[in-house]
């Protein structure tokens, strides 16, 4: 089932919130991941969770290539498998 960009953004926020131990409401979609307190280790774990939820394979560099929640959600929405 293809998710909307907004749904993907919500998944990203939830996963990041767990990792950085902050409420989802505090996470700004437009700021760099590093400003949320994400480092190279918890990025790896967030990526793994997102891969499982979206059932896709991701390059470990996507966090750096799309460094905000908004831009990553947009990218993930584009590369999602189309509806069967």
């Amino acid at each position: 089932m293809k998710l909307t960009q907004l749904q993907i953004e919500k998944i990203l926020k939830e996963e990041i919130a767990v990792e950085v131990k902050r409420p989802v409401s505090e996470l700004d979609s437009q700021v760099h991941f590093a400003s949320h307190g994400l480092d190279s280790l918890n990025c790896i774990y967030v990526l793994y969770q997102v891969e499982k939820k979206l059932e896709i394979e991701l390059n470990p560099s996507v966090f750096w290539d799309y460094p905000t929640i908004f831009s990553l959600a947009e990218h993930l929405h584009q590369i999602q498998a189309p509806n069967e």
Binding site: I44, P60, S61, D65
Partner: protein, 400 residues
Amino acid sequence: MNKLWRPLEPAFVANPYPMYQQLRETDPVHQAQTGEWVITRYQDIKEIFKNPAFSAGNRLDWLKRGITYFNNKEEDLYAIYQAMNTFLNLLNPPRHTAVRALIAKAWTSKEVDEIIVRNIDRLLKEIKEKTFDIIKQFAQPLPVLTISDILGIPTNDYRYVKQLGATLTEAFSLYVSFKELVTINQAAKDMISFFREHLEKKKQHPDQSLMSSIISTNQRESVGLTDDELVSLYIFLFNSGEETTSNLIGSGFYNLLRNPESFQQLQQEPEVMPSAVEELLRYDPSVQIAGRMCIENFPLRDKVIPKGATVSLVIGSANRDPEVFKNPNELNITRDPNRHLTFGSGIHYCMGDWLARKQAQLAFTALLSHFKSPKLEENSVEWNKILTFRSLKTMRVTVA
């Protein structure tokens, strides 16, 4: 995306040199989007190699932090750290000095020609086809057979151990995923039990092998390495003895095939071989990037590398710097001087440089006389997708 540093883009992994050139020319001290600093000019890299403001082993620290972090996620990755804790390239003085001295004292026999020539003959005899993959059938097995003979492990296990070693090496990749870390950890576990088993055997039945000699030197000189550390040191010697030299033989032969005049010159003037190997080392170094950690603020050109920063020294770029090498993108097998940084510089200068050189010289000499005019199958050339280690995955040649 318009970024200078694109280490995962397939086109740049296949040919990273245009990306390096752009970095050298426009931003030689470049902070990448990933946070680390990418250094691409020869003089800067040489300076950092020698300057105590930079330490080795940031990868080991990162892995250590990773193990603690993933432990909280119920995933035990300790084997990766255990397998790599005595890797010489990741150690700093005084421990680095002690382990390096141990290897130097233990490794007294440098007469390896016989072993290498025997392994070359064995591999050439097994090639029966007119068109074959020279990477899989020659470049990959040769160094692993040689280092197995030197260490004293049975060569019939070489494919198994080599595969584990290649997986473990991925821990050096700039960007790894969680799933990859789990796979690497399993390979680390298997490799540890393989070498631990052989350590026990050598303790009970000492022989002339390097593994035995390291055990006795460790005792005699009171270096004090534990069994776990000895196993890690064996894994380091095995890995560094085989993969990089495979890459040198593979990409070196590729570059010779693409430069027929050099190929023919070497067939006619074998005395040029040592200088040709230096040039092949410069032209496509196996280790493209060396990592360092900045331990005090360091001004460089118009920037300051901050304390705590991770630094990527792009050896592949230093070796093509036009300020040091005339016509750097040209293969010139009689280039002199040829002070490439392929083996590093400073206290971490590669200890196995002589073995790599010797093996490559003997391998190319044998290949050039065994195959008079091999033809490169251009479509078969495939590079492995990891920028840190430049290596061919496949390359087919046709012989008359």
